[in-house]
Symmetry: C2
Subunit: 319 residues, 2 copies
Amino acid sequence: MNTFAIGVDLGATKIKTGAVDTKGNVFDRVAADTKASKGPTTVINQILYTISVLCSRCNQSECMGIGIGAPGVVSLDGNVVSHPPNFSDWTEVDLKDAISKVHSLPISVDNDANVAALAEAKYGAGVNQKDFLFVIWGTGVGGGIILDRKIFHGPSGGAGEIGHISIDYNGPLCNCGNRGCIESYIGQRYLSQRTREILEAMKINGRTSNIEQLVNGNLDKIEPSIISQAAEQGDQSAIGILQEAGELLGYALASVFNVLDLNVAVIGGGISAAPQFVFQAIESSTRSRVLKPHQNHIQVLRANLGNNAGIIGAASLVM
Amino acid sequence: MNTFAIGVDLGATKIKTGAVDTKGNVFDRVAADTKASKGPTTVINQILYTISVLCSRCNQSECMGIGIGAPGVVSLDGNVVSHPPNFSDWTEVDLKDAISKVHSLPISVDNDANVAALAEAKYGAGVNQKDFLFVIWGTGVGGGIILDRKIFHGPSGGAGEIGHISIDYNGPLCNCGNRGCIESYIGQRYLSQRTREILEAMKINGRTSNIEQLVNGNLDKIEPSIISQAAEQGDQSAIGILQEAGELLGYALASVFNVLDLNVAVIGGGISAAPQFVFQAIESSTRSRVLKPHQNHIQVLRANLGNNAGIIGAASLVM
């Protein structure tokens, strides 16, 4: 009887591999360093190591297969992973083939954002949503599109790059070369930078913020999670910063919703731990900007699988 | 033998109905006033009139069916047409049912922009493109999405509203209530308004433009086709205006391409008669703003079915 699948969440620093049952519960897990700087062969061996540890502890005859969520571009056939960011010497690697050489189980590979979107669709905040946009708001801004409960890959597998919707063609320069991408407003680096600027301006006026205390005065340590924590403590500057960021994200969502005929966003990534007002800010901003037929249907939901989304979604690929 | 289909292009002022062979040629046609101000019953009778005239001249036993391209939102099942702009007393009308009562042929209804996109996909500029974005640049800016040679309708039939991608969240107020929609920059009214402003500023500096001569000094008569004509005559102000409009459209396309994983746009509507430099401006602007994996694949093509796209696409629905 097939009772579980193995999900591999391949990150640039850690590989998190789990055994996931058919209800989406992770009942066993193994982690290892990715060793991304040592090249693809080492990374593949690390992946294989985590799988073999798990397999040794499970009944392999009940395993449906191995799913892998990988950064970078994954070919439409789910074989080749290209240019994962922060992986040395990794141009194009047939990851499916490499794992297949060792394991005879069914193997499926997809992009990490798509896999997290699938997890939320099957077991998380999106279970009651046939169609939605999944947004990962963290270091960068990424996403996945769920249509009819399935991942929408686009013609060549690259769909869902919602971080690179531009909300101002004269806006700040983004890493990608475009201007005004939503990532260049609310991605971790920008948000931290903007917070530093605000705190420095406050200092001049003799005002302080909880954020400063949370980083013991070292403004270089500001991260979205810190801003979020300060906002929860009621800090007005932190609340203002997250509120504004949420509004900006709403503008990007409105454009995407108009083109794709969507009404629902599920927001994951680091920000999914943020206070509820951030989600309300995104939702009301989106609603104020979409075309009339959408306005009464807009919903912005908090992802609820947290860090497990990668493992669960990867396992879902073979369930 | 099935050799042709009937396509109905339902516009707010004219109904254009044609008999279309399996190669996409319109070999017979009938037009009538829509009489949209007289309500749905009158409009439906006008449609039926054009169909009956065509049928009386064709061999009905060879007809595959009747396709209709309608403005407004068309329900996913292709039955109900809701809120077509500039049609009086038309909230929701089951157009398929109304035509079925008179004709026993297969009947299919879809949105007019989708239908034009399908025509370009099957017989026009998109025949070699599996996936592309179709843009109608005219009075407004609309569009349709072709994925795997089929119309992508979205979850509720409203996909493709590329006119309401915002390129500046602080930009000009659009009819839809949002700010900075690409339609609010390059739709007919904006483009005409901007041209008037430029000509008035030129006058103050003692300079003239061919545009002014083409409208005999009556600046209220400026339309995109006039600007286009002046540009063809080498008028620098007209060239500048269209160049800038093309660049702005490119910014919107880049965002859509990033999210949908597309590389190709086919541009139809009034502007499809514009000089080639406009298409080059759109293409190079899009290329400069999309994510790296797309940059070498960007193509912006001129639609080539002109005013026939509506009839041909509608007929294609039942072929």
